[in-house]
């Protein structure tokens, strides 16, 4: 007599696969497709501005960058003669942006240091809110404020500068007209880029390795000693990167600069005089009454501006990403 042994049922080996389900595949394809939207949009911008600006670029050649004349005239035969050159505007843009950086970098670094090291907790929170708020103000608000509030004050500062430093070429003026100058436009841009540089600097300063900071304190350093020996060397790259982000913003700023700058197609380095250039503002200045030839020139200007800011931003982000590890 034997015991009944039930037939052993050996289940078939479960198939193990790393292949994602169909739903996952669809999900991945959709998400990946959308993630390329940034690439698509950026290339579309470059492509369309190039196509529409091509006739100008072809006609003016390299002179589009190096000439400073901007005129559309009709000769006796009724043929249009066009001169489009961006030199004055490009140099003007750079001049204004550097004025802005000149004031904004020290102010931002000072604010960031104060925030990180000297401010009491409550003041710190308040100041961070203020800086974030500055970044949220629309540029047209800066334009209005710059024109009606800052300009009267800045005119007085410009006169002071001219009085004491007028013997230096850039502070000299051919005629005593100080309103709507690159100097004032630079001041407005200063206020606009301060939040960018401040927040990047603050992030970098806050990431200074704590052991190094404490080591410096243990050696008897004062706060300033710590800042000078540890924080600033560590954060220098971040400040540079943040400043370049600010520079990118300053290059592309349109409405605020337009409100406070007298745009003239002549290369001018006398920053207190009411004559300046700015590519972005020039575009909206000329757009209103532009004919087809001029529209094409404006598209080409837009392309130049786009490539310029893209280039500055690439470098800035490269530096910032290398320095700031978290966030961003």
């Amino acid at each position: 007599m034997s015991v009944d042994t039930p037939a052993k049922v050996i289940p078939a080996a479960r198939k193990i696969t790393t292949k994602p389900r169909v739903s996952d595949q669809i999900f991945r394809v959709i998400v990946t497709a959308f993630s390329f939207s940034a690439l698509v949009i950026l290339s579309l911008i470059a492509a369309f501005l190039f196509i529409k600006g091509f006739s100008t670029l072809k006609e003016q050649g390299f002179g589009f960058i190096t000439n400073f004349q901007w005129s559309v005239t009709t000769d006796d035969a009724g043929k249009e003669i066009t001169h489009f050159g961006l030199q004055a505007m490009l140099i003007g843009t750079v001049v204004i942006s550097f004025i802005a950086l000149f004031f904004a970098i020290p102010l931002s670094v000072m604010t960031a240091l104060f925030l990180t090291f000297y401010a009491p907790e409550r003041v710190k929170k308040f100041l961070i809110t203020i800086v974030d708020l500055m970044a949220a103000f629309p540029s047209i608000l800066y334009g209005l404020w710059g024109f009606f509030v800052l300009m009267p004050m800045a005119e007085y500062w410009a006169k002071l500068l001219h009085k004491w430093l007028g013997w230096i070429y850039i502070f000299d003026v051919p005629q005593p007209i100080y309103l709507r100058s690159p100097f004032i436009a630079g001041l407005v841009l200063t206020v606009m880029i301060i939040p960018i540089i401040t927040s990047v600097s603050r992030e970098v300063f806050a990431q200074t390795p704590l052991d190094r900071v404490q080591a410096a304190y243990a050696l008897g350093a004062t706060k300033w000693g710590v800042i000078k020996a540890v924080v600033l060397p560590f954060g220098a790259n971040g400040v540079v990167g943040g400043s370049m982000l600010g520079l990118g913003r300053a290059f592309g700023e349109t409405v605020a600069v337009f409100s406070v700058l007298n745009i003239v197609f002549r290369t001018n380095f006398q920053i207190l005089f009411t004559q300046g250039g700015n590519v972005a503002s020039m575009i909206i200045l000329k757009f209103g009454e532009a004919g087809p030839a001029e529209i094409s020139a404006l598209m080409a200007s837009g392309l130049v501006l786009f490539l310029l800011t893209l280039f500055v931003n690439f470098i800035a982000n490269y530096i910032v990403n290398r320095t700031v590890k978290s966030g961003r």
């Binding site: 389900r21 739903s23 996952d24 999900f27 991945r28 959709i30 998400v31 990946t32 993630s35 390329f36 939207s37 940034a38 690439l39 911008i45 369309f48 501005l49 529409k52 931002s108 604010t111 240091l113 104060f114 090291f117 000297y118 708020l133 500055m134 949220a136 103000f137 629309p138 540029s139 047209i140 608000l141 209005l144 009606f148 509030v149 800052l150 007085y156 206020v191 301060i194 004062t222 300033w224 000693g225 800042i227 913003r249 592309g252 349109t254 409100s259 972005a280 909206i284 757009f287 404006l298 598209m299 837009g302 501006l305 786009f306 800011t309 893209l310 931003n313 690439f314 990403n321 961003r328």
Partner: protein, 350 residues
């Protein structure tokens, strides 16, 4: 018997220190008044500069007495950084104050309940309003949300959930995209759509231009929020047998919900006041236009722009009042984003 040991706080300011600080500030104010009165220097700038310089000197003298020579530099650094922070706060205060005082003058019931159909920019204040522009701006914002939020969140999902090979490049491109000048966004829509298709300036095209500016903000903030969602949650979802799609849809996104709303709000705050792209893309209209695909639309930024360009005191006044409304909207969004953002953060800490 218990004794309560009172903690010693040798670094805290004693009454003597406070008195010294007060004295140095008072002395500096005094000296600034004296100097400005006695010398030909005049004006607020002179007061400010003299006060600050004499404060530096007087307070340094006190510092030498207490901390010796080494303390001076620290004291100077503290004051100079404070100067930077003060200048920054003063500019913000000046902007807010100017907007409030100048904007309130032109604000009345008609200004927010009527349109400009039967009034011109140059009419006396009290006639006509900007309701059409408020509606126009809201329309634009809705259109941009419709395009930018899915695009931004999906890109963020690619960067945080799929982490594909192209992550690095896409991250870089998104950052580059946030640097695209707003005027270029407008020119692009003009070049690509208005010059090539029968579509004319309308709210829809304006919304498209703003989308370009909004996507990077939404992407970045959503990415930060999604990175905050604990890995445990994802692993738990997958361990229960859910597919990645289900985990993301039912676990990750709900966990990050308030953060994603914050991202949207920050994006809206970024574009609500953009002016330059709208000059190319929305056209002009003084009345209500409820068709986003056809005909011009009035928006707050373009109304402000027109007011500033008008040049008369009435038109500029309308500009200031309109910007006050715009600023209030942005401030509300800002506060909303902050409160939602901090709530998310607290939840994470607990």
């Amino acid at each position: 018997m218990t004794t309560n040991v009172k903690p010693m706080r040798p670094w805290a300011a004693s009454n003597r220190d406070r008195a010294l600080t007060g004295t140095s500030v008072l002395l500096s104010i005094l000296s600034s008044v004296i100097v400005v009165q006695l010398t030909p220097m005049k004006g607020k700038l002179a007061y400010f500069a003299v006060f600050f310089l004499s404060w530096l000197v007087i307070d340094s003298l006190f510092t030498i007495r207490k901390f010796g020579r080494k303390g001076i530099r620290d004291a100077l650094a503290a004051k100079i950084t404070l100067l930077g922070a003060t200048i920054v706060s003063m500019s913000v205060a000046s902007i807010l104050w100017a907007t409030l005082t100048k904007g309130l003058k032109g604000l009345n019931l008609a200004f927010i309940t009527e349109n400009m159909r039967n009034a011109s920019l140059f009419d006396p204040i009290g006639k006509g309003g900007v309701l059409h522009a408020i509606i126009g701006t809201l329309t634009l914002i809705l259109i941009s949300i419709f395009f930018a939020v899915p695009m931004g969140i999906l890109t963020a999902l690619y960067l945080t959930e799929i982490k594909g090979k192209a992550s690095g490049i896409i991250q870089f491109l998104v950052q580059a995209m946030s640097g695209v000048p707003s005027v270029v966004a407008g020119l692009f829509i003009y070049a690509a759509i208005i010059l090539n298709t029968p579509l004319r300036p309308s709210a829809f095209l304006g919304g498209l231009a703003l989308t370009i500016l909004m996507v990077p903000t939404v992407t970045r903030t959503s990415q930060e929020v999604l990175n905050l969602v604990p890995m445990d949650l994802r692993e738990a979802g997958l361990a229960m047998g859910a597919t990645q799609w289900k985990t993301v849809a039912l676990v990750v996104l709900p966990a990050a919900r308030s953060g994603l709303i914050t991202a949207t709000i920050l994006g809206v705050a970024r574009i609500a006041g953009e002016t330059a792209p709208l000059l190319f893309t929305v056209g002009v209209f003084d009345g209500y236009n409820f068709n986003p695909f056809f005909g011009g639309t009035g928006t707050l930024p373009t109304v402000i722009w027109g007011g500033l360009g008008g040049g008369t005191s009435e038109s500029v006044q309308r500009g200031w009042s309109a910007i006050l409304i715009l600023l209030i909207v942005i401030l509300i969004l800002f506060v909303l984003a902050r409160t939602l953002g901090t709530r998310q953060f607290k939840k994470k800490q607990a």
